[in-house]
């Protein structure tokens, strides 16, 4: 496509340095973090302003080629793959933090600002941006908005949509809309509609986000259980007591083994599950809450309990959760990180069914869960050089999502539909 009229026009408008069309340059954009399906775009543009985005969209429309927006490309569901070719619009160069306004507890950012950069920028102000997907060092706030990203803290602090109250976006015909940062009861909640729409309603260029007060203090615990049921019952007891932890991460036996094989934290290999629980809030209430949580862990049969005495120990407790991605990377040539959700009390059931699915397809599946809200991430380990394994991994992924639907849940809690799950939508909404 190197010399097509569209590319020439794009170059004229955006400057040649912001338009990529050589095959070697395009190859980088043929997939995202879901690497199973790939398609090279015909041209990639890196606009620097909302105006430029609008021009690109208008040009693409005139030439009748599709447009796919892209942030950092960390999507785990293939949301950035341009299945129909066309233009990929990369927002990475629109990365200005436009305004920090503490009086109004808000920040205004361009879509390409990496999530973590905003929080780093806010250090010392007493505020942060609450959504913190595990990909936050790379993923963009625009991408977080498009996927309604979550993270470990959503049970207490909500997902991205709970923290966005203004959006500027370029719609499909190149029209720039600004959805007011002041709530207007006369209008349908279009912001709520665009958040999580994965780029299908428009390209988000600027975002007004709510800032959240930093917690005064933390208490972090790690508890090891013989069974997933014990761990899940613990979470239920904690929540029934009116304690909403800042995070409750569950790791099953498989992922503990995977972490232990590569990282050697000294995790017991015969344990059924492990929880990392974190409480936050005003310091005065935390010790009493921690005591109760520990009591619930013991009641439910915790066989090993640690709590962090200082921030270094806290880091260490979190380390074993956070290193899971790296551990899997070392264990297996490829892994499919799935994302399903069930009512929290049905976590033991879904994990049993996932194990069956793994046995059936002869694949190792290890699980992480944001246990507080029933969001489970089964990781299907496979070798992408073996077409048969790829087929089985995809089949297993699909079956475990169907199991989530059957357990009264849904096929994605935070990673989005992308190209991966489109064909499951009908299943979900006809149940």
């Amino acid at each position: 496509m190197i010399h097509t009229p569209l590319v020439r026009e794009l170059r004229a408008r955006l400057g040649a340095e912001n338009v990529l069309s050589a095959p070697s340059e395009l190859a980088v954009y043929d997939c995202d973090a879901y690497t199973i399906e790939r398609r090279r775009p015909d041209v990639v543009v890196l606009p620097q302003s909302t105006q430029q985005v609008a021009e690109v969209v208008k040009l693409a429309k005139r030439h009748d080629v599709p447009v796919v927006p892209r942030g950092a490309g960390t999507s785990l569901s293939g949301g950035c793959v341009p299945l129909g070719g066309g233009v990929v619009v990369v927002l990475a160069r629109m990365n200005r933090i436009v305004e920090i306004d503490l009086r109004n507890r808000m920040a205004v950012v361009e879509a390409g600002v990496p999530n973590l950069r905003l929080t780093q920028h806010l250090a010392g102000t007493g505020y942060h941006f609450a959504p913190d997907p595990a990909s936050q060092a790379a993923s963009t706030i625009g991408g977080n908005v498009a996927t309604n990203a979550g993270g470990p803290h959503t049970l207490k602090y909500g997902v991205t949509v709970n923290h966005v109250f203004g959006i500027e976006a370029v719609l499909g015909d190149g029209w720039i809309v600004r959805l007011a940062p002041v709530e207007n009861p006369r209008e349908l909640d279009l912001i709520g509609l665009i958040v999580g729409s994965e780029g299908t309603l428009g390209i988000v260029t600027k975002i007004w986000v709510r800032l959240t007060r930093d917690p005064q203090d933390y208490r972090t615990m790690r508890a090891v259980f013989n069974t997933v049921d014990d761990a899940t019952r613990t979470v239920t007891r904690v929540i029934a007591a009116g304690i909403i932890p800042a995070a409750v991460e569950l790791m099953d036996q498989g992922i503990m083994a995977a972490i232990e094989e590569t990282m050697h934290f000294g995790l017991p290999l015969d344990a059924g599950a492990m929880l990392v629980i974190e409480l936050d809030g005003p310091a005065v209430g935390l010790d009493a809450q921690q005591e109760r949580v520990i009591e619930f862990c013991r009641d439910c049969g915790a066989r090993e309990l640690l709590h962090a005495a200082d921030s270094r120990q806290r880091e260490r407790l979190w380390q074993c959760r956070k290193s899971s991605g790296a551990a899997l990377g070392r264990l297996s040539p490829s892994f499919l990180c799935q994302d399903g959700v069930v009512p929290r009390t049905r976590l033991p059931e879904i994990l049993r069914r996932i194990a069956e699915i793994g046995r059936k397809h002869q694949l190792r599946i290890v699980n992480l869960a944001h246990a507080g809200d029933g969001n489970v991430h089964p990781n299907v380990l496979f070798d992408d050089r073996d077409p048969d394994q790829v087929t089985r991994a995809l089949a297993a992924g699909r079956e475990l999502l169907e199991a989530c639907i059957q357990c009264g849940g849904s096929i994605t809690a935070e990673h989005g539909i992308g190209i991966e799950k489109v064909d499951l939508m009908e299943r979900l909404f006809s149940e």
């Binding site: 503490l102 009086r103 109004n104 007493g126 309604n148 979550g150 959503t154 909500g158 997902v159 709970n162 719609l171 809309v177 959805l179 940062p181 002041v182 709530e183 207007n184 009861p185 006369r186 209008e187 349908l188 909640d189 279009l190 709520g192 509609l193 958040v195 999580g196 729409s197 007060r213 239920t236 929540i239 029934a240 009116g242 909403i244 809030g281 005003p282 005065v284 209430g285 009493a288 809450q289 959700v341 009512p343 009390t345 944001h370 809200d373 029933g374 969001n375 009264g408 849940g409 849904s410 096929i411 994605t412 809690a413 935070e414 990673h415 989005g416 539909i417 799950k421 939508m425 979900l428």
Partner: protein, 417 residues
């Protein structure tokens, strides 16, 4: 219940969602307007209905369908009242942390459609943050659903968000799944009076950096508030009251009250009073149920300046601001104790200087909505809501898809043209 605000030829009370769909299908065929009715507490919210039609009462849809308390969700029929909902949730020490007036009559479906909120929105957000699943009958009589019964779900467009505050034209809500929260163990409020509005703004600005975690940041001003109902009269020399509410464990609330008093005392704010846990519930209820005729939305930091403008336009009015959120509620009736219905002898609402207010709010980047205009039949939807914004054409296109004949609550919203 009075349905005077609606031009009804008859009212149906279907027994279930299938019957709701049947009524709407019939209306769609006959191009007959349909007015959904919940508890009848907000039937005059929005513009005047433009044509006679059938009332569709959801009162018989009043079951709790599923309450898995351990999952912190509840699925209910749209006609269940908020008070009944609260009663069920109380058995598991849970609640929906949104302040809803007339809870004894207001229904879950009505509340989703109108999206009221109150003081607690500072900490907990609004209905938008709690609706995780809906079942709806659209304007052709077709049933559809959005979301689900899990607290986290990003599969597909967020139809729940589309329904919250939609006031009818997307569809008739028949079933709702809500995320709920634990009931806090304790609560208290700290109240201070300020001599002028500059002082009020200083206090509000300082609250951004308080060590405490307020559940509500309220400001009261104007003659009725000066007389004070639950809180007692203000000092002669005071211009306004700032109220900060706390909720949490007993330890937390106790500490936060002490900490805020310390912060205020260091800032030279004199003699705040504390409404102790034993009396706090009554104060919260009062603050959550204060009526108003007009709502102004601005940025939080523009709240105080806007209030000063309102009082300059009409010094008789009474003001409650959810100041931490930039929501200003203005009442013109002499007493701020409900009900606010204006009797003929009182100032008719046409004298409200809302046109001037609208200009001032627009300048501050905000907007003005008339909440009650019971006696004024001249007001159009445009008067009530103000001029359509940037996205009106998009909104209209969405609405036309769900309600192609325009039979759902015609006239109450204005989509521009």
């Amino acid at each position: 219940m009075t349905t005077d605000a609606l031009p009804l030829t008859q009212t149906n009370a279907p027994a279930d969602a299938a019957e709701v769909a049947e009524v709407v299908r019939g209306a769609f065929r006959d191009k007959m307007p349909v007015y959904p009715i919940g508890g009848g507490t907000a039937l005059d919210y929005g513009g005047r209905p433009t044509a006679p039609g059938v009332g569709l009462s959801l009162e018989k849809l009043s079951r709790v369908i599923d309450y898995p308390a351990d999952d912190m969700t509840i699925t209910v029929d749209a006609g269940l009242t908020i008070a009944e909902l609260a009663e069920h949730l109380r058995t598991h020490r849970q609640r929906l942390p949104v302040d809803i007036p007339h809870a004894d009559r207001a229904t879950v479906g009505g509340v989703v459609a109108t999206a009221p909120s109150g003081p607690r929105r500072y900490a907990y957000g609004t209905m938008r943050d709690y609706v995780i699943g809906v079942r709806v009958v659209d304007g052709t009589g077709m049933e559809f659903s959005g979301g689900g019964r899990v607290v986290r779900n990003v599969a597909g467009y967020n139809i729940c968000r589309l329904m919250v505050g939609s006031l009818g034209p997307i569809g008739v809500i028949t079933q709702v799944t809500l995320m709920v929260r634990p009931m806090p163990e304790a609560s208290a409020l700290v109240v201070c009076e300020v001599g002028d509005f500059d002082a009020a703004e200083r206090i509000l600005a300082a609250l951004v950096h308080t060590q405490t975690l307020p559940a509500a940041v309220e400001l009261l001003a104007g003659p009725a508030q000066q007389q004070g109902a639950v809180l007692g009269p203000m000092l002669e020399s005071s211009a306004a009251r700032v109220i900060v509410g706390f909720e949490g464990s007993e330890l937390e609330v106790d500490w936060m009250v002490g900490q805020l008093r310390k912060e205020w005392s260091e800032a030279g704010i004199s003699t705040p009073i504390t409404i102790e846990p034993a009396d706090a519930a009554a104060a919260w209820d009062w603050l959550g149920g204060l009526p108003a005729d007009v709502q102004i939305n601005v940025r939080p930091g523009a709240t105080v300046a806007m209030i000063e403008q309102v009082l300059r336009l009409d010094s008789r009015c009474s003001i409650q601001a959810h100041a931490g959120n930039g929501v200003i509620r203005v009442g013109w009736s002499p007493s701020q104790t409900p009900p606010v219905a204006l009797s003929p002898s009182e100032t008719p609402p046409t004298t409200l200087p809302w046109r001037e207010l609208r200009g001032a709010a627009a300048e501050a980047g905000g907007n003005v909505v008339l909440l009650s205009h019971a006696d004024d039949r001249q007001l159009t939807a445009r008067d009530v809501w103000g001029p359509p914004g940037d996205a009106a054409t998009v909104v209209r296109a969405i609405k036309d898809r769900f309600d192609p004949q325009g039979i759902l609550n015609p006239g109450r919203l204005d989509y521009g043209s």
